[in-house]
Amino acid sequence: MSKVTSKNQLQGKEIKRDYLDEAVHGYNLKTAMEEAARCVLCYDAPCSKGCPADTKPADFIRSIRFRNIKGAAATIREANALGGCTAKVCPYDRLCEEACSRTGIDRPIQIGRLQAFAVAMEKEYDMKVLEAPEATKEKVACIGAGPASLACAQRLALQGYKVTIFEEFDKPGGVLTYGIIPSRLPQDVVDFDIQKVKDLGVEFVLNKKVGRDISISQLKEQGFKAIFIGTGLWKSKALDIKGKDLSGVTSAVEFLKKARSSMGQMKVKGDVVVIGGGDVAMDCAATAKLLGADKVTIVYRRTIEEAPADIAELEYVQALGIGISTKFKPQEIIGEDGKVKGFLAEGTDGFSQLKLKADHVIFAIGQEAENMKEIADISLNENGTIACDLNKGFTNEEGIFAAGDIVNGGKTVVEAVAAGKSVAESIISYLSKKEGVK
């Protein structure tokens, strides 16, 4: 069922204008084969080296090229618990595709779309790639059902550990389910990846926030021998400017979560200003536009070149008719009767001024950690993230591990997957009494 309403071309992709529709067409066998045939099949392939989660793009592209579609799907699933999601949301232009040798001829292989194709075929073929042995080893609790925990849980379950994931919200997925626009990451893709983790015997306990509804000591009493914290960053940063508490001012986290939970039923009326220059800001702007906003403007304090958002995301919002005003620093949110009426920003050049009519102002300037001390008495960094090695994940408390955004301060899904995978190895090493035992 195609809901294409615009024939605008964005790198050959049609722009879709329905909130729940994917922005990018998927490949079919024929088009996937054409793209795979463009791959120059490098020796010692740089794309594979460019993947933080070791998803082995060179291997799965070669499998597609040599008509082993199932092998391609298996390679991805084995390496990356969130192969479907990362296929949609990875910043390829900074990772595998940036490394692609084909760039020396014309343009990189569309690795993300090939990965999405292979995962779609995994679903179509109803493949069961991974099989977990009977869970006879220790019980491990993962806190938060986002990318880091899911990746960690997959690894542990494959090694025979009994894993339970505790999630504060009523659906698993974390940022995948609540923090990304469906046009980039459809829910069925998220659900499929999560189902593959469930199929390994990982248990999910939803609506239970560790530190509030259940304590670490209670978990230990229940027999959990290791605890993994992969809670992510859920507190939006806010600017201390006049009008920040007006009705109509909202955080990116709240806004995106509400929009996704409503499955696109939420309506946005009037004019919207989004503050920020990352993917989250782009997602907020696109969400606002697709849910009915009249005019959406992104205001960012640096230049487009400096914006951390993915190029594809920047192009997408522009194709939706969203303007980006750069080098403006928020000054004031103008209110009337307690509601947002306008937005004022000053140019970083010390001269320019920006005054916009606004009914909503969304802060998308980054997230920070909630109070992790509520979970456990572990050492934190100054910014509230957990103090531990990015890849090893040992906190100062024995048996407590952490990875993902809550450690790195907010990076990509694929980096959270990579860290979750690698910290799983630390947990295994700890539980087999080789490392971290005090």
Partner: protein, 419 residues
């Protein structure tokens, strides 16, 4: 890509871990190459042909045929048999068998007299080869007492097969040339001479391209070139045909075949198995992509067998043979009219062009809406289906019978898919 079913098979009494072999060619000509191929997963190797003759090669020596943006549709190769001393090759064969006892080592040999064939057979047997293949088919030898000139002569094939078989206890395989109308004739001669197995096809005599500047064929060797062997994806249909024809001959149907020609993927390999091969041999795609391609062959074939419920490779050998029948025996009582899906159609008009210019003017073209429609002239040839660039846009539709009394169940008529 973890899938690894049991792909083992017994070939002429030798246990093979899988049916994927390198053919006797540039891809398996020394210890290091073959060792790397074994490590990559190849079940065995037909070692580059050894003989008393030591090749003196030209430069350059390859060319490839492309179409639009696809290179290597076909490949031309002017190399002959090994350019190394026989002793070096024998030593490599010996060391490889010693270091990789579970991998299969087939020594491919080529002589020019009874005595030479016998001597080579004895030497490679002593070196530890599992099997011997007689190369009766290299089309670019500089000696006319060797290669495909021998393979076209059933008497010589019989004579040399006999000489080799008499000099070794190992099963002997005859490698056939496709540069002939009926391969069955020399094949039967080889079996009469004592060969136990047959390999086909060697390369096809070819001129791949003419160089328009130097007025000679490619590759240009100091202003000249020669006819020589053609291989690669383009020759697979010819290889399949020869294997199927030999396997269908009453005197050859029980002979174990090794299929060669244009194999790049597990599907290509399986096709050779389905027309009666016990294993396959690969060179051109390894020249293009390297030994690594075997991993997708192993994995892909494993998935197929699991999906289809085949326990043993052997159970698939020749399954397509009963369904490949003489043209006069085909059921010609129906035509399958096509359906064009206007939602999928992108309005390119390729079906219209091909149908009008090369078939039966059975497609009308709506200029205003840019859409084709099928008229009553359709004979069910499916040329349109072959040219349509959109998957599943044109599909087999209504079946029209010439004799209504001889209808057949719809489900066998037909899963026409062109891949």
């Amino acid at each position: 890509m973890a899938k690894k079913a049991d792909l083992s098979i017994e070939y002429l009494g030798v246990k093979c871990e899988n049916p994927f072999f390198l053919s006797s060619s540039p891809v398996g000509g020394c210890y290091d190459m073959v060792a790397k191929a074994y490590e990559a997963g190849w079940g065995g190797v037909f070692f580059k042909t050894v003989g008393r003759f030591i090749a003196d090669e030209c430069s350059p020596r390859f060319d490839n045929v492309s179409k639009e943006d696809t290179p290597w549709i076909g490949f031309k190769n002017m190399e002959q048999i090994s350019d190394k001393p026989l002793e070096d090759n024998l030593q490599a064969i010996h060391r490889l068998k010693r270091d990789y006892p579970d991998k299969v080592m087939v020594a491919t040999i080529m002589g020019s007299t009874d005595e030479e064939w016998k001597e080579l057979a004895e030497l490679v047997t002593q070196a530890g080869a599992d099997l011997i293949e007689c190369n009766f088919s290299c089309p670019q030898m500089t000696s006319h007492a060797m290669g495909s000139d021998v393979g076209q002569n059933p008497d010589l094939v019989r004579q040399y097969s006999k000489a080799v078989s008499s000099a070794t206890k190992l099963p002997v395989i005859a490698k056939m040339t496709p540069n002939i109308g009926n391969m069955e004739i020399p094949a039967i001669a080889a079996i009469e001479g004592g060969a136990k197995g047959l390999s086909a096809i060697n390369t096809i005599k070819s001129i791949t391209n003419i160089n328009l500047e130097h007025m000679t064929a490619m590759p240009v060797v100091n202003g000249k070139s020669s006819i020589s062997g053609y291989s690669g994806a383009a020759v697979k249909p010819i290889g399949l045909r020869f294997i199927a024809q030999m396997k269908s001959h009453p005197l050859l149907k029980d002979i174990q075949m090794s299929g060669i020609g244009g194999i790049e993927t597990w599907r290509d390999a399986l096709e050779y198995i389905l027309v009666g091969s016990h294993n396959v041999q690969v060179t051109t795609s390894v020249m293009q992509y390297g030994y690594r391609i075997v991993s997708d062959m192993i994995s892909g074939l494993s998935y197929y067998m699991e999906d289809q419920g085949f326990q043993k490779l052997e159970d698939m050998i020749g399954l397509a043979l009963p369904n490949i029948i003489p043209a006069e025996e085909l059921d010609r009582n129906f035509k399958i009219i096509v359906d064009i899906d206007h939602d999928k159609c992108i309005g390119c008009g390729r079906c219209y062009v091909s149908c009008f210019d090369a078939a039966h003017q059975a497609i009308n073209w709506d200029f205003e809406n840019r859409r084709p429609s099928v008229n009553d002239e359709c004979v069910g040839c499916h040329l349109c289906l072959n040219v349509c660039p959109v998957p599943d846009c044109i599909r087999p539709g209504e079946i029209k019978y010439k004799d209504e009394s001889k209808r057949i169940p719809k489900d066998i008529a037909f899963q026409t898919r062109y891949e």
